[in-house]
């Protein structure tokens, strides 16, 4: 069907595949075939996951549910008129950010595009500072100057939050370059959408990443739509990750509905980055339930049935919940308590944001230049600003 996300038409699970420890990074020749074969495979006992404790698994579940509840609350605030501009929700994609970030070490870094709430929270940012930023308040993570698309927390190795499609792909390359220059055994995860694969700087970046052996991992979160344009209408060739091939970059396609598969995929790419300083391109197939931004019409390019199919059969939080319950390591009550706390914290963050002050007009001129913020260390002379608040 024209416009239908490819993930909905793939073959049903192949029960023959129960081997757990196969690397999820495939050689170029057999990737497509093996990817289809991976559908339905149980990654919960794979190398990256087999040692997870109950607490760790619960924590991963908690992170996912917290991102969802935070965003659901932000949607309400948007509808109530507290949040302006764009609100690009990550709902449905949570396993990708949480699974990926959960694999990172101290010298690993993250950068992403404008659908950034999930990555920010997974990186350890707090509800309050994020919600307040959405409200445009002084207590926001960027003091109300960035908004939804521009969350930053460099102290948590989280470098934003970038509004222009594909514009972050060279920045992620630069983070990886700096890590290598400083002889750190780290990598940069650079998240992007399927639409960003059609921007030129991405290919310039792939060329440099491979040529200079930079430890950057491009993660194409393929949610099937570049805004309202289905992959079949925006991209030639399939899969998207295969575009890494002419650059001699290892690539793979995996499911983003399964947290454990995401973790294994990232683990393999990190190994390649840390040990051999090699880049990877990982296409992780996922789905967003909400519009590109929440005010956008949803029914012009996809059907309600399609969205329902994902919610019913492929929801990453439900899938993890079922697994944990089936494993018998948690009770429904424990999971409910986590959920109740997440909702409570989300409500509290909205109250915090609501009660917080807006930035003072004088703050419009802060944070533009390091130098004007540090007048005691000023080295320049002359006038920097030509129109300022009265």
């Amino acid at each position: 069907m024209e416009g239908l996300h490819h993930d909905t038409i793939i073959d049903p699970p192949n029960s023959d595949l129960s081997e757990n420890d196969t690397d999820s990074l495939k050689s170029v020749e057999d990737t497509k075939q093996t990817v289809d074969g991976d559908i339905g495979k149980d990654f919960s006992q794979s190398e990256a996951n087999k040692l997870l404790t109950k607490e760790e698994k619960l924590n991963l579940y908690e992170q996912m549910i917290r991102i969802r509840r935070f965003e659901e609350r932000s949607l309400r605030s948007y509808q109530q008129g507290h949040i302006g501009g764009f609100l690009h929700l990550y709902i449905g994609q949570e396993a990708v950010a949480v699974g990926s970030v959960s694999m990172l070490g101290d010298d690993d870094h993250i950068i992403t595009a404008y659908r950034d709430h999930g990555h920010a929270l997974a990186a350890g940012m707090e509800f309050d500072e994020c919600m307040a930023e959405l409200y445009g308040k002084k207590t926001g993570c960027s003091k109300g100057k960035g908004g939804s698309m521009h969350f930053f927390a460099p102290d948590k190795n989280y470098w934003g939050g970038h509004g222009i499609v594909g514009g972050q792909t060279p920045l992620g390359l630069g983070i990886a370059y700096a890590l290598k220059y400083n002889k750190k055994k780290g990598a940069c995860l650079c998240f992007m959408g399927d639409g960003a694969t059609n921007q030129g700087p991405f290919y310039e970046s792939l060329n440099l990443a491979s040529l200079w052996n930079l430890p950057v991992i491009y993660i194409i979160e393929n949610n099937g739509y570049s805004m309202g344009t289905a992959e079949s209408r925006h991209s030639a060739g399939d899969p998207l990750a295969k575009r890494a091939e002419p650059f001699d970059i290892t690539w793979s396609v995996s499911s983003g509905h399964d947290l454990f598969e995401v973790r294994q995929t990232i683990s393999d790419a990190l190994k390649s980055a840390h040990e051999n300083s090699r880049p990877s391109v990982l296409e992780i197939v996922t789905y967003r339930y909400r519009g590109h931004s929440v005010a956008d019409p949803d029914q012009t390019y996809r059907s309600k049935e399609e969205i329902e199919e994902y919610k019913t059969n492929k929801d990453p939080i439900n899938l993890l919940k079922e697994k944990l319950l089936n494993e018998g390591i948690v009770t429904d009550t424990e999971l409910k308590e986590i959920d109740i706390k997440a909702k409570g914290d989300a409500d509290a963050s909205a109250e915090f944001a609501d009660a917080s002050p807006y930035p003072d007009p004088s703050e419009l001129m802060d944070d533009i230049y390091w130098e004007t913020d540090n007048p005691d260390n000023k080295t320049s002379e002359g006038i920097m600003f030509f129109e300022t608040p009265q």
């Binding site: 920045l171 370059y177 890590l179 006038i383």
Partner: protein, 325 residues
């Protein structure tokens, strides 16, 4: 004091700062093995090795963005554009990322980076290679912009730019690369950004210019003095953002007549802002309307016959100056 070229002065500044700070690297097309397309980085690869002086593919968007990412991480990259005209394919990285990340992060992230290269017409290379984007860059809060016009300034201002904690766009000029001048040798020779320079004192009119237009203005000032008995003061702006407004107002108050000269195109060019500032802050000191001369308002022409009349030359500037008296 040694007499060296503008090109050698830049080379000294870059070399000294690479030696001073392990976070400084120079990257761009042909900067290393080829020794720089205009030989600015000649000898630097041999001196500092390929980790500090780095050849890039022809991918301005990627290497500009890479350098911004590295600057966010605390490095101090110097990015060479073979021509500033080529920054147009990296616009997003410079004008969105380098300029805005500090602001959008509420001051959490600094971007100490230098973008540098020649930005001038007059070399018979057609419209795509002759842009002068100092007005674009100066129109973008978050960026600083300088246009050094002499060898000494090239060194002192480049060093200041590299040590600066904000993104600085250094606009050089291929026609000035061979110009010779006295350049101090000390390692800490710094000319602060935002400090204009009176290159010739005068009392009858002020000619305010930046970049190569400074030199045509000096020639005109000499003609005015020798042939017309008019004493013109020449003020070199040096830096566009920050701008030395005090120096501009001081010269206007001294001479009461102003001619603005630039090789930028006229509409929304740098001197539009300078003219506004003068009438706003020194209107009562003006004895004549402000005169302005810029590049002829057409895409830069290839043919020498056309391009020679496009950029303000001695005769066109002189004619305009004579309208002031």
């Amino acid at each position: 004091m040694a007499i060296i070229t503008y090109r050698e002065a830049l080379n000294q500044a870059l070399s000294e700062e690479i030696e001073n700070d392990p976070n400084v690297v120079l990257m761009g097309e042909e900067v290393a093995q080829f020794k720089g397309s205009y030989k600015v980085s000649e000898g630097m690869l041999e001196k500092f090795g390929p980790d500090r002086v780095i050849d890039t593919p022809i991918s301005e968007a990627a290497f500009s963005g890479l350098a911004v990412g590295a600057a966010m991480m605390g490095m101090r990259p110097v990015v060479e554009f073979m021509f500033w005209s080529f920054c147009y394919v990296a616009f997003d990285q410079i004008f969105n990322n380098a300029a805005s990340i500090r602001y959008m992060s509420g001051g959490l992230i600094n971007v100490p980076i230098v973008f540098r290269g020649p930005a001038n017409g007059g070399t018979n290379v057609g419209a795509t290679h002759s842009h002068t984007p100092e007005n674009f860059a100066a129109n973008t809060p978050g960026l600083k912009v300088i246009c050094p016009a002499t060898p000494a300034d090239a060194k002192g201002m480049m060093k200041a730019a590299i040590r600066d904690n904000d993104p600085v766009c250094v606009m050089e000029n291929t026609i000035l690369y061979n110009m010779k001048g006295e350049v101090p040798e000390e390692n800490d020779y710094i000319i602060p950004l935002g400090k204009a320079n009176v290159l010739k004192e005068g009392k009858d009119m002020s000619i305010i210019a930046h970049g190569k237009a400074v030199h045509s203005s000096l020639q005109v000032a000499q003609t005015l003095e020798e042939k017309h008995n008019i004493s013109a003061e020449v003020l070199d702006l040096r830096s566009i953002r920050p701008l030395d407004v005090d120096a501009i107002i001081a010269t206007v108050k001294k001479t009461n007549r102003v001619l603005l000269v630039e090789e930028n195109k006229p509409f929304c060019g740098v001197d539009s802002q300078v003219a506004f500032i003068i009438q706003d802050q020194a209107f009562d000191f003006l004895d004549a309307p402000i005169k302005r001369i810029s590049a002829i308002d057409a895409p830069q022409a290839y043919s020498k016959a056309l391009e020679n009349i496009q950029i303000p030359d001695h005769d066109r500037i002189l004619a305009k100056a004579m309208e002031l008296v």
